[in-house]
Symmetry: C2
Subunit: 151 residues, 2 copies
DNA sequence: ATTCGATAGATGCAATTGCATCAAGCTTGA
DNA sequence: TCAAGCTTGATGCAATTGCATCTATCGAAT
């Protein structure tokens, strides 16, 4: 690997990104906890499953959507199932796999988390930047994504 | 709390921020691990201590600088001390406290981490945005910080 | 059909984190 | 000066994460 030092602007932007994202996550997690709600990761999974509809999702599909490690998804799903928020169905054409589907209780929990999470997002981000600034921010971040989004 | 739903632009920017920051951290941690180097949190602490110079820092000062919980800092410092990267000195005017100072070995480790970390930053961020874009990004993120930076 | 490698998901064990609480020392105020 | 409360830092214990590995099934090549 070529030894390279990033420019001062790069370092500054990187530092801000690291600090801000951690602050935002931490505050949001705190708010959820204070409200007696489960952590963000639960929301992410319930959200993906709600979007997937009745067909549900295979665990391995969930893995890249929510950016969690395989064993993390496996155990998170076990907890969600134990709480009755998702159900696991055998899948006909692959004996190894399963399909995970959100239950009505899961949808309700997702809704309750969103009431708090959405307010937190509005509070921490929506109130601080204009619509145009938000779009600029999203576009710049999209270029850092993998795969990049060049809009 | 007033029930509020964030605007679509807000949600989009939030989603990108969450995803991108996690991707960047994960890739960087992977790179460090592959290089046989300690995790990012070690760098953060060593960096702050290096900047603090010979005077060192009190653990509680480190807490807000690196955004770690008190018990996390306590244990991380114990590990750094065990590795000889920092040293703890009693502080004269407060019998409870201590001053933590980076050692030469700590400076060397910091340098070695930076060689890889800096390259990762350049790779993941510096190469993808222009200087002007980086400044825009940093400014927008600064407004989300707590306390906000209005430049 | 049988073997071999790849994929899906689970899990034992060690390390780390989070929570609650502790001990020790400081500060304030009667 | 002494009690009450605050601050600093550490730690026991439970929950979570990370790593490595396991089992089961699939698919492809022979």
């Amino acid at each position: 690997m070529t030894k390279r030092s990033p420019s001062p602007e790069t370092i500054k932007a990187w530092g801000r990104l690291m600090r801000v994202s951690r602050q935002l996550v931490e505050k949001t997690e705190d708010t959820l906890k204070t409200s007696g709600l489960p952590p963000l990761a639960w929301y992410d999974v319930l959200h993906e499953l709600a979007e997937a509809g009745e067909g549900g999702l295979r665990p391995f599909e969930l893995i890249d959507r929510v950016l969690l490690a395989q064993y993390n998804v496996s155990r998170l799903l076990a907890r969600l199932e134990a709480d009755g928020l998702v159900e696991k169905l055998p899948v006909s054409d692959d004996g190894r796999g399963q399909t995970v589907r959100i239950t009505p209780a899961g949808r309700e929990t997702r809704r309750r988390i969103w009431a708090v999470y959405g307010a937190s997002i509005a509070d921490l981000m929506g109130d601080r930047l204009s619509a145009k600034e938000l779009e600029t921010l999203a576009a710049l971040l999209g270029r850092l994504r993998d795969p990049p989004i060049l809009e």
